[in-house]
């Protein structure tokens, strides 16, 4: 199945773009999407981001469905200067 992943702020700059489709196995959770991106940006503070599924905040154990819109929402804290674009 596929989900549409959106990203904002510093993640949009670091990942280069603002959205993409990601292929997952049936029954995949938010955690599995996070793992995909952890591998792409190993130095990013993934444990402090929020995720929204279909525009509602979602925890790592939420199960995804075909066509879901998943947004990666980086923290807006002042502690992120080293990730500046």
């Amino acid at each position: 199945m596929r989900v549409r992943v959106l990203y904002f702020g510093v993640l949009r700059e670091r990942l280069g773009g603002s959205q993409e489709w990601v292929g997952l196995v049936e029954g995949a959770t938010v955690a599995e999407v996070l793992n995909v991106y952890r591998e792409r940006l190993v130095d990013f503070p993934w444990d402090s981001i929020a995720v929204a599924v279909n525009q509602e905040y979602a925890k790592a154990d939420v199960v995804l469905e075909e066509g879901d819109e998943l947004a990666l929402l980086p923290p807006v804290s002042g502690g992120l200067e080293r990730y500046a674009g």
Binding site: F8, V10, V76, G85
Partner: protein, 151 residues
């Protein structure tokens, strides 16, 4: 309730004037404006961006919750996106209420909660660089990763 995300100038005076009605004894306004410095650096401008549909829905929920929670009569919550220069209004919170206590409390709660939970980011542009910065970390209950899975 007037809840909006706009790309243009926020008409603060007009919005505040439109929030006054007969039963009100107080209108409390928080006008968030762009400061000319941050952590010792001179700010040129700020670029705001949002997960627009979600941010608007979150703002609508906050406005409704404020009315229930504090018993105020009406709330206006307006946020601007895009490039803002020093002195311009980025966010306007207006609360109308019979009494000032509830108006102050609701106004404070609205801006503090908005800054923690509404998906809006700002990039600060300085003379010598730029950072995504100067907001609030997400509360634990919103962070996606559970303590057990954090790597």
């Amino acid at each position: 309730m007037r809840v909006e995300i706009t790309d243009g100038v926020i008409p603060s005076g007009e919005i505040v004037a439109g929030m006054k009605a007969g039963p009100d004894g107080a209108v409390c306004v928080f006008d968030g404006i762009v400061r000319d410095n941050s952590r010792g650096r001179k700010t040129l401008y700020l670029d705001y961006e949002a997960y627009r549909e979600m941010a608007l829905e979150q703002m609508r929920e906050l406005a409704a919750e404020a009315v229930t929670k504090f018993g105020v009569r009406d709330v206006a919550l307006v946020h601007r996106l895009g490039r803002l220069m020093v002195g311009e209004t980025s966010v306007l919170v207006v609360v109308s209420s019979a009494h000032r206590g509830a108006a102050f409390e609701a106004c404070r709660w609205l801006i503090d909660t908005l800054k923690k939970t509404v998906p809006i980011w700002k990039k600060e542009q300085f003379v010598d660089g730029a950072v995504w910065a100067d907001g609030e970390p997400f509360p634990d209950e919103i962070i996606a990763a559970s303590p057990e899975t954090r790597g």
